[in-house]
Symmetry: C2
Subunit: 526 residues, 2 copies
Amino acid sequence: MKYINFDKTAVYQKLKNAALDFDLKNKLDAKRVGECVVPMAAGLTYSWAAKSVSDQTVKLLQELAEKQGLIEKYKTLLNGEVMNTGENRKVLHHLSRGQQGQPVIENGKNIGDFYRKELERFGDFANEVHQGKYKGSTGKPFTTVVQIGIGGSDLGPRAMYLALENWAATEGKKRMDAKFISNVDPDDASAVIAQCNLEQCLFILVSKSGTTQETLANELFVKDKLVKAGLDPSKQMIAVTSETSPLARNSAYLNSFYIDDYIGGRYSSTSAVGGCVLSLAFGPEVFKEFLSGAAEADKMALETDILKNAALLDALIGVWERNFLMYSSTAVLPYSQALSRFPAHLQQMDMESNGKRVNRNGESIDYSTGPVIFGEPGTNGQHSFYQLLHQGTNVIPLQFIGFTESQRHDDVTVDNSVSQTKLAANLAAQIVAFAKGQNSSDKNKEFPGGRPSSLIYGKKLTPAVLGSLLAHFENKVMFQGFVWNVNSYDQEGVQLGKILTKKVLSGNFGDSALEAYSKILGISFA
Amino acid sequence: MKYINFDKTAVYQKLKNAALDFDLKNKLDAKRVGECVVPMAAGLTYSWAAKSVSDQTVKLLQELAEKQGLIEKYKTLLNGEVMNTGENRKVLHHLSRGQQGQPVIENGKNIGDFYRKELERFGDFANEVHQGKYKGSTGKPFTTVVQIGIGGSDLGPRAMYLALENWAATEGKKRMDAKFISNVDPDDASAVIAQCNLEQCLFILVSKSGTTQETLANELFVKDKLVKAGLDPSKQMIAVTSETSPLARNSAYLNSFYIDDYIGGRYSSTSAVGGCVLSLAFGPEVFKEFLSGAAEADKMALETDILKNAALLDALIGVWERNFLMYSSTAVLPYSQALSRFPAHLQQMDMESNGKRVNRNGESIDYSTGPVIFGEPGTNGQHSFYQLLHQGTNVIPLQFIGFTESQRHDDVTVDNSVSQTKLAANLAAQIVAFAKGQNSSDKNKEFPGGRPSSLIYGKKLTPAVLGSLLAHFENKVMFQGFVWNVNSYDQEGVQLGKILTKKVLSGNFGDSALEAYSKILGISFA
């Protein structure tokens, strides 16, 4: 497998020389909307009609996919090669939801079997909790699950829970409420605990290494509260960790479920990190449906024709926008309240993966990598930052997501339409408004148009659809990492802050500014 | 008063020619941290030591402030001149919390008196609700207030409520729970209603014009639920609207409180829009403390020396970063879980105000205006997008916010420090890590440094401190608008989407792409 920097490829120069302008205003018509679609897993569709991408650009992007060996590299990753070069690790989150490549064997152990065994173990455990086999310290059934974790142990699982909470309630699948404690700010844990009936809460401690500062502080915060309430933490807390961590097989926990170093935090929603809390909240069958949607998306991402592979095409158009149209941020705009925290999850997944300035061998690179990702649900965002998106001085590509049905099927007719129809009408209107703009003799009422967007659409946000969506973006980010020749799976950029935090807490600052900032923030070692 | 485009000023050219490089890595020491501070209202401090700003830059920014008449223009705004040129309106949100300028008289009416009268009216109403003078349709006391509004009627009030909820609970000031319904997605209203005991809910309908599509749809959604539950909506809903709207003095509502066209939605947290819900949740005295912090900040923003005026200096450094260092986005990073939605509010306030491409006279401009604003609370963000902030290929200026005390005073000691100390230690560490970076022979572990940040810090997040924070950013955005010579107070960029939505809902698309998108999103007129 050949790994070369993006700007050293011949196709990079061809893209540099390609025409940047595309007359989106005039090209976007019903025919283009009908043609520029790619099927996705679980019945979703990726529509790229409103992207500023010409036939010539598509051709060059196809060539780029081939010359950078994107599908081959994906297969290599699936088959268990060390793709996290910096940390010398395999990258196996796909394996947590399906077997797309060869079995991955290490030291005689089939890693897929390990993931599948854990999936069954935490599924069985969730069923047993629901059946009342496990109860709180005072003998009452567990009604609430509280996940203690930060970063990937928080954002993804929380976003997935919120995405399915109303669907589950409506379908009669809601088993337990879920809450989340993440921030080391003590007000976070304190406020969540204050809302809980502690004797009916099952806590999940999530830390792969068993050494995450925030998570361990919050664990002790919670245990202190349990003990003070006369409850036994060892009967009310499980651990999700690696088999080699101090939390594993530790009698301080009711049970432990395992992950390994081959699934990064931001890719762990389909592992035990997301699986325990989602199985407890909605039942293991719902979690498996979610996995099935993700697995189907992973399979479809193996297609080599970029016009038939939504994740690949999305990735390549993103590269076009980032490196040639020079757009530095992307907005994710789900027209679905259930996806309220999905942009925050993608913000981590994308920015932590591809916010890199060295290639996979640790050598400096000379081109832009991951963009800023931000977003809020529509229609809320329309009344907030869309002003800048429509009429600001920079172009920001948009990723819309929409569904034809609501999750709760509870609606009202006002002015001859239900709210779900209004939601969809707003979404259609925005795509066209951004693409086509509006002329006006009053420049303040003029919309320049030519502002590109893509749309992922489907019938309803179900567990399988959510899995499909999640895997789509994971695979998009993976393909972009391959194009840019970066390692999307480490995060060295988080280390320096940890080191300096330890210095502050030890009182050995080693830097006068660090000491001065610590002092004004109230830290003293008198 | 002289209004000229930024690039037509002499100081623009001087800034263009000024040295961009500043050796932040080596200049940031205890002395600079001690010197580069500006007092803010309510005991906060603005620290700009870690900004890439030299003495020469400061001098030029002072000149810019004077040449563009920023303080004069602010006074003009306070005195009631029409500063929202596009809509021919005064801009009077400052007057909702204090009288900094001359009395503003219009048609013989003192507008300050009008705002003060409404403040007393909704304060009295809140007290009466708390005293049980008003009760739900079935005679039970109101325990929950539910705000129905979108955009500025949602983001600001919601962020302020979340910021004070734990403080109020701890101080014994929490009177009622507050919930919010905003999105036209029917799942939003349906899910909120499902969590409510309807007979004890008081609803606040917020729409200045009384015509906001989402809000009216949600009003009817709620009323339908109330009627189906055998409750009387006219006894359980109040309106916040303009005196000329169809909602005013309407017997369908228990009471109405008024705003006017001189307070834009995104600046309405200190008016009845924020005041009703916050006074009901925490009592009118708490809301008045919040206003006092904002008023003090407004007063301090009149200072002409940029080194003594935090909002002005923050604004000017932002212009320096946007137009000369060419940074296109800014991250807002509060180390406070209570401020979890404060970045979302600033995202609206800033991007909707200054995301403009024409000047205040509607003429095209040739320089960058408002940046992308995004953010999440720390330490959570550290485990998410900070990788890109530290090691990505673009520099993103950072706005940190931190406090020495938690709101709930409920903490745990782990490894010799409480969580609040860990939170502060992380914040100090991040500022220094971004500014100074780290050399390494392994380029993957190298941090380039030179990444600028500012810090707003104080003792504890109280109502007055929150008011100070809010007004700081409002005034910062105002000053930037003056520099850029744009109208920060209209939002023509939201109009085109509304027009096209109406076309979709009427079935008269007038555009084949609009019809095609509507069809794939499930809208049909069979």
